[in-house]
């Protein structure tokens, strides 16, 4: 029931302009201190009056946690970059994957982990999360619900990072599910819902301390039933009203972009007046913010593709894309990713044509496919969701291998966030975002046993006493140490 509420009322959002992924700096800094990652920041004079491309007024203060060189040996590695490596090793050093293969030499001071019978995958990435902005306890109505700024159909001016509560108990649970990076999105009540934020799933007192260094912002857009229902009394109340709304927003944004690009080039006269919403949209038009478009129906996705073409921006990913399988060829043609569920359907009319084969059919058509959650429970088990979609592909004669399926939850979502150059696969030089699974990650019986982010082990199922507990949990939530197993 809660899920329905989230889907109906909330929705993903997209990005706003930010530094390009290549410009990573913090993520390449050596691991130093284990704590206070969120305290260091400079106090340079503000430039609040200027609509500057790539402005970064809430910069990441994330620093990798302390780490020791670690080698996992005798393990099956699903790399998301090539074929499975059996009986292999992976070496994590100075926050990076230093080596991977069947014969890896480790420094003498490395921690050695025997991975016999176990699996390694890249850290899981959920590109559609509402944890942090839709925290718990969620039955307190508006008190923890910061997902939808449902006050106007276009709220490109909001940034979801200003809704994120770092003490949301969902965070440690996602980490325990092997999730190392998430994109938090505004909801889908609005045609244009605002900026997303890409976070590392790490304990921090501030949102800035979780922000993935160098990740682009996203812009959340939404099609279909949600906006037209939410705004039925004031409009848009129809799908044609939705489309008119997007186009009106982009017309304004294009004008704004031209005005500011001119001023930024010549600095003649007073700068134009800043407008937060148009600034975000202009950054989309400049290609600095990636569009994440909530859309269920095939026909609506095809129309959104035309709107993007009309205004010269690109849609990075359709989210939910319940009918993606009907237009897989169109998505493949335009290199638009599809971010889908394994088996959600029938919760509203635009989800009536949901099929479990969606993921497999899209994959076979050459679409970059992503297993997303839009749900804090699902986010903890994206490996199980992928397993379901793989099984359905195999059932209907559209075979999917484990090497395909692991990409759905790692390198493919990394691409949708523009961070595939630094994370999302087990390859030399990439961030050491790594999960050790107790067994085949596509088995219902397997669980993430250890999780590393930038080479630091932040979760160890075998050491319950060291488990990350949010401030909220202290005293409120029993510790569950030991448990049944």
């Amino acid at each position: 029931m809660q899920k329905i509420v989230l889907v109906l009322i909330a929705g993903g959002v997209a990005c706003a302009g930010h530094r390009p992924a290549a410009a990573t700096s913090a993520s390449t800094a050596p691991a130093s201190r284990a704590t206070d990652a969120d305290t260091a920041r400079s106090t340079a004079p503000g430039r609040g009056g200027i609509s500057s491309p790539l402005a970064d007024p809430f910069p990441s203060t994330y620093r990798p946690f302390a780490a020791r060189p670690t080698i996992i040996r005798n393990v099956t590695i699903l790399t998301a970059a090539g074929p499975t490596i059996r009986n292999g090793s992976v070496l994590l050093r100075e926050g990076k994957i230093a080596d991977v293969g069947t014969s890896v030499t480790a420094p003498t001071d490395a921690i050695v982990i025997d991975g016999t019978g176990k699996y390694v995958t890249p850290g899981i990435i959920d590109n559609h999360s509402h944890i942090g902005d839709g925290g718990v306890p969620e039955d307190e109505g508006t008190q923890t619900d910061d997902v939808n700024e449902a006050t106007s159909p276009v709220t490109a001016n909001v940034w979801v990072e200003h809704s994120v509560w770092p003490q949301d108990p969902h965070f440690p649970r996602s980490l325990a599910g092997g999730v190392t990076t998430i994109q938090v999105l505004p909801g889908s009540a609005n045609l244009i819902g605002g900026r997303s934020v890409v976070l590392k799933v790490v304990p921090s007192r501030t949102v800035q301390g979780m922000k993935f260094p160098g990740a682009k912002y996203g812009l959340k857009m939404a099609c279909g039933e949600n906006p037209k229902r939410v705004y039925s009394s004031r409009g848009p109340s129809t799908r044609m009203g939705n489309v008119a709304g997007y186009r009106a927003a982009w017309i304004e944004a294009e004008q704004y972009r031209r005005k500011w690009d001119k001023w930024n080039a010549d600095h003649k006269g007073d700068p134009p007046t800043r407008n937060l919403g148009l600034e975000t949209l202009a950054e989309v038009l400049r290609g600095n913010i990636l569009v994440h478009n909530h859309c269920y129906r095939a026909d609506e996705m095809a129309q959104m593709i035309d709107i993007a073409r009309e205004f010269g921006y690109r849609i990075r990913a359709f989210h939910h894309a319940v009918e993606g399988y009907k237009i897989a060829d169109l998505l493949a043609r335009d290199s638009i990713a599809a971010s889908v569920w394994a088996d959600w359907g029938a919760f509203k009319l635009e989800a009536a044509d949901a099929v479990r084969g969606n993921m497999a059919l899209l994959t076979h058509a050459g679409v970059r496919t992503v297993m997303h959650s839009d749900d804090p429970d699902g986010e903890q088990r994206l490996n199980q969701e992928a397993a379901k979609a793989m099984a359905e592909g195999n059932r209907i004669g559209v075979p999917i291998s484990e090497d395909d399926a692991v990409k759905w939850m790692t390198i493919n979502p990394a691409w949708t966030l523009g961070i595939d150059g630094v994370t999302g696969s087990i390859e030399r030089g990439k961030n050491a975002d790594v999960v050790l699974w107790s067994g085949d990650p596509f088995s219902v019986y397997s669980r993430a046993e250890k999780v590393w982010i930038d080479g630091a082990m932040l979760f160890d199922r075998l050491d319950p006493a060291a488990r990350w507990r949010t401030d909220f949990e202290l005293g409120f939530v029993p510790e569950n140490r030991g448990g049944a197993r």
Partner: protein
């Protein structure tokens, strides 16, 4: 079997497909499922065993069953044979599209939050497209449980046979659903006030039960519930129909236990996020629990102690546990009612014995709802609701290859199958059947 079914849909003429899905009588003959590892559930597993089905009933189960000449043989070598799974809290058939009110039959308006007379199966749509896909995944029976209000209405057990509601209905009512936890909405109701209300209803039902004649002559004080609602509550007061209380916080479960003691009610706990805290007491009081294994989030103040080990801890303490979906993205929705087997797999991952988890989706719900003489196990005389799995039924990679309900396999493609088939190659050939 499902792949075969897709091929069938594509290659064969429509008329032949129709013939395959034809009346039971044609197919309800003698069937022998041979060579599989059989889990009768009521008895230890048997390797290389035969399940013999005749006219919709199981007639023999064992390693040395003689297969009569002329019997249809199903080779289950290397496969696993279990009773059909039961979803112990389902809205299949009662909810087609959740956001379309005209297809929602789960929540009664009631009168002042009381809907004891509500029998949701009377509104069930036997032609729901979700029934076939649920059955194809190995679920052969569901327990429909209404929701909402203080007294939500009655629960019933239905088997997923094709036909009408009367063909599907196995036993009803099997419970009266009530909510004792925090009630949110326009106006929050404090727990103790909800409790007073429940006591008032029970006490008025007592008056109604003992003074029916006076009531009919309007010679009693005004009673809070309607006549039909009180009539439905009489068997609950008499301990013949259990009260299924949807409740999570440990102290709320204790309250429900006290009410049950005070009024001599049989109690079933549903939800039970913090039931593990009271495992021994629930076991001692023989109170069954319907819960899941995929929720560990302190979503509400009433579920702060929610954990995935809940089902395993309860089973270990001797509580009768039925696994139902209890997480979003789990099997709480009609579309995913078929996922209850993954709930079982997750329960095992969090400490439940494998055999206990199998029991928790077969025989235990059958016992809890009083239909164990009919379904939930593989034994002579039971209904032939049998599934042949390609492998471990809790694993994602396994599938239900043969599903028998009443000894009949349904071969009609589901709506989901038809959509997948249509769009398997693009652009779709709209004009090809």
């Amino acid at each position: 079997m499902t792949r075969a079914r897709l091929a069938t849909a594509t290659l064969l003429a429509t008329s032949l497909v129709a013939a395959l899905a034809a009346p039971h009588a044609l197919l309800a003959q003698t069937i022998a499922i041979v060579g599989g590892k059989v889990y009768p559930v009521s008895a230890p597993a048997i390797d290389n065993a035969t399940v013999l089905i005749r006219d919709g009933r199981i007639v023999a189960v064992g390693a040395s069953v003689t297969v009569p000449a002329g019997a249809q043989r199903i080779d289950a070598t290397g496969k696993i044979v279990t009773p059909g799974f039961v979803n112990g809290a389902s809205r299949v058939g009662l909810e087609e599209i959740s956001s379309v009110p005209a297809t929602r039959e789960m929540i009664a308006r009631g009168r002042e939050r009381i809907a004891a007379a509500f029998r949701p199966w009377e509104g069930l749509n036997p032609r729901s497209v979700l029934i076939g896909q649920t059955r194809d995944a190995g679920i052969t029976a569901i327990v429909v449980t209404p929701a909402g209000g203080l007294i939500s209405g009655q629960a019933g057990v239905l088997r997923l046979v094709s036909g009408g509601v009367s063909d599907m209905l196995l036993r009803a009512p099997v419970g009266m659903v009530a909510n004792l936890g925090p009630a949110y909405g326009a106006a929050f109701t404090p727990r103790a006030e909800t409790l007073n209300r429940l006591r008032e209803i029970l006490e008025d039902t007592r008056v109604y039960r003992t003074r029916r004649a006076d009531y009919e002559r309007a010679q009693t004080r005004p009673l809070v519930a309607s006549r039909l609602d009180m009539e439905a509550l009489v068997p609950v007061l008499e301990g013949r129909v259990p009260l299924i209380v949807d409740v999570d916080r440990a102290s709320d479960i204790e309250t429900a236990m006290k009410i049950a003691r005070d009024y001599g009610l049989r109690l079933i706990v549903k939800g039970g996020a913090e039931a593990w805290m009271l495992a021994d007491r629930l076991a001692a009081a023989k109170i069954p629990v319907l819960t899941g294994a995929m929720n560990n989030v302190p979503k509400q103040f009433a579920t702060l102690g929610q954990r995935q080990e809940n089902a395993g801890l309860l089973a270990k303490a001797g509580v009768s546990v039925t696994l139902i979906g209890n997480a979003e993205g789990g099997s709480t929705d009609a579309f995913t009612a078929r996922n209850v087997r993954y709930e079982a797999g997750n329960a095992v991952a969090y400490g439940m014995e494998w055999n206990a988890a199998l029991r928790a989706v077969t025989l235990t719900p059958a016992e809890t709802f009083g239909v164990a003489d009919q379904i939930g196990s593989l034994a002579a005389g039971k209904r032939a609701d049998v599934v042949v799995w390609s492998g471990d039924p809790f694993e994602f990679s396994s599938r239900a290859e043969h599903v028998f309900v009443n000894g009949v396999q349904t071969t009609a493609p589901t709506r989901e199958d038809l959509l997948e088939q249509r769009y398997k190659t693009l652009p779709p050939a709209y004009r090809t059947p």
